[in-house]
Amino acid sequence: MEIKTNYTVISPLLGEVKWESSPDDFLLSTQLGFLDFLEKDWKDQFKEVRQGFTALSILWKNPEAQMTFQRQFQKFKIKPKELSTQIWEIPVCYAPEYGYDLGALAVARRLTVNELIVLHSSVTYRLHFFGFLPGFPYLNGLPRQLHTPRKSIPDRTVDAGSVAIGGSQTGIYPQESPGGWHIIGRSPVRLFDLLKEPPVFASPGDRWKFESIDPDTMDKMLITPPFPRKR
């Protein structure tokens, strides 16, 4: 199986590889395969590649490099990359003092708060890429019953560590920021650490599983943030 793909020149230095598919594991493995190919064969030609759910955008060093790439594009043979088997356990406290939108969201989704928590923490999510803020994970795999449009008026500030639902996605705010997602809990894990190289612990393709913790455990973990456990 292969997904239809094309390359669009956006500006003399910028272009985009786009796949006509919805984000899923197969598309991700194709994308990661393409990233490996770029790193291997074109690394000295581009300044940066950015990854999204259905595209890879390439910022080229010069227009000639982009033209050469575009001419050869249809001939590239890309081997999908096997997705990682790594699962990270991410502790989350779903208490109302942290997940202040839990009640309203449960009502909107016709669930009890407990059902909502169980649904959110029972599945594993696939990390596709980091975006929005340094270390903000784009996770795929939110159960359909929890899909919820973003807030029409974003919150002025969302606390660092807040676990949230927006559209068909779930994620964690690595730092305090304005935000339009529904806040359902908080994780004591440090998602982005400037002093580490790389500053994030997970890689695209890894899976994340949220583990519900009680407020007492949370209090302790907030004092000494744990490193997420590998399963």
């Binding site: 956006i10 940066e48 950015r50």
Partner: protein, 289 residues
């Protein structure tokens, strides 16, 4: 060559000024924005006339009423916005390469044209390097903006250039234009004829809700475009929100976004945007890549 560290102290500053360099290229995979000077053309000129390295960091000053004191000899260069410049109270007319003696106070007064002024120093300002760059960015560097009393390190120049207080040629004509050259963005095809017509025939004004992350436009472009899967954006990407807001992303913008990416400004157009004030008018002029 032995160089000694000296200190420049910010005595006065308006909001929004910072230290910027080339930015953090290659770290978008961790969600880290590019950052760096908004008007790269003026920034590069400052380093050029100081005979600095291209990556040496400079101050990006975005408000009049800036005062800085240098505790040791050096040379500074100024480019970008044109402003009234005073050295120890004396006006320096048209001079943009200035020799500085210990305890000199340099002042940036009213802006005559342009919105961002670059103040560079020989060998560059040495604010802490975070993830390979000295460019300020909230959440990464300790400071997001320059504040009153801030002390920034630089290397003193024992033997400043004698040809200083010169007037190297620097024109600001290039940013006086209202016309902004743009390319179709990756989601341009979603715009119908009517929206395209409006986008390229009407003029738009810059909203006060603009900063280093992006410039918002006052006039809305009502649309029924769908929300899309989150995909890459770059400085210069123009997003159209469901509410009709047009946002031109600049160098501190996030690396991905979910709004349709209708246009893309090439670098040259981004430099022009950096020199615009809220209320300024602009006209998009479409160019095929």
């Amino acid at each position: 060559m032995s160089k000694e560290l000296a200190i420049a102290t910010v005595l006065k500053t308006g909001p929004g000024s910072s230290i910027q360099g080339l930015g953090r290229i290659g770290q978008a995979k961790y969600g880290i924005p590019l950052s760096g000077a908004l008007d790269m053309k003026s920034f590069e000129w400052v380093n050029h006339i100081l005979q600095n390295e291209v990556f040496n960091a400079a101050m990006e000053i975005s408000q009049p009423g800036f005062q800085i004191k240098f505790d040791s000899n050096t040379s500074v260069a100024i480019a970008g916005a044109q402003a009234l410049i005073r050295l120890n109270g004396d006006e320096l007319e048209g001079i943009n390469l200035i020799s500085i003696r210990a305890n000199d106070v340099l002042e940036i007064g009213a802006f005559l044209s342009g919105a961002r002024l670059y103040l560079g120093v020989r060998y560059g300002f040495k604010s802490p390097k975070i993830l390979g760059s000295r460019s300020f960015y909230a959440g990464l560097t300790e400071d997001s903006f320059l504040s009153k009393g801030a002390k920034i390190k630089y290397f003193t120049e024992s033997n400043p250039n004698s040809e200083l207080n010169a007037k190297p040629k620097w024109s600001t004509d290039w940013f006086q234009t209202e016309e902004i050259l743009v390319y179709p963005g990756p989601d341009f095809h979603l715009l119908n004829e009517n929206l395209r017509e409006k986008l390229f025939s009407e003029s738009f004004r810059i909203s006060p809700q603009s900063n280093r992350m992006g410039v918002q436009l006052l006039e809305l472009l009502e649309n029924e475009l769908p929300e899309l899967p989150t995909n890459p954006v770059f400085p210069g990407t123009v997003q159209l929100t469901s509410g009709g807001k047009i946002v031109i992303l600049l160098r501190d913008a996030q690396v991905t976004g979910g709004y349709p990416r209708i246009l893309q400004l090439p670098e040259e157009s981004q430099w022009i945007m950096a020199q615009k004030w809220p209320g300024n008018k602009l006209l998009f002029k479409l160019k095929k890549p």
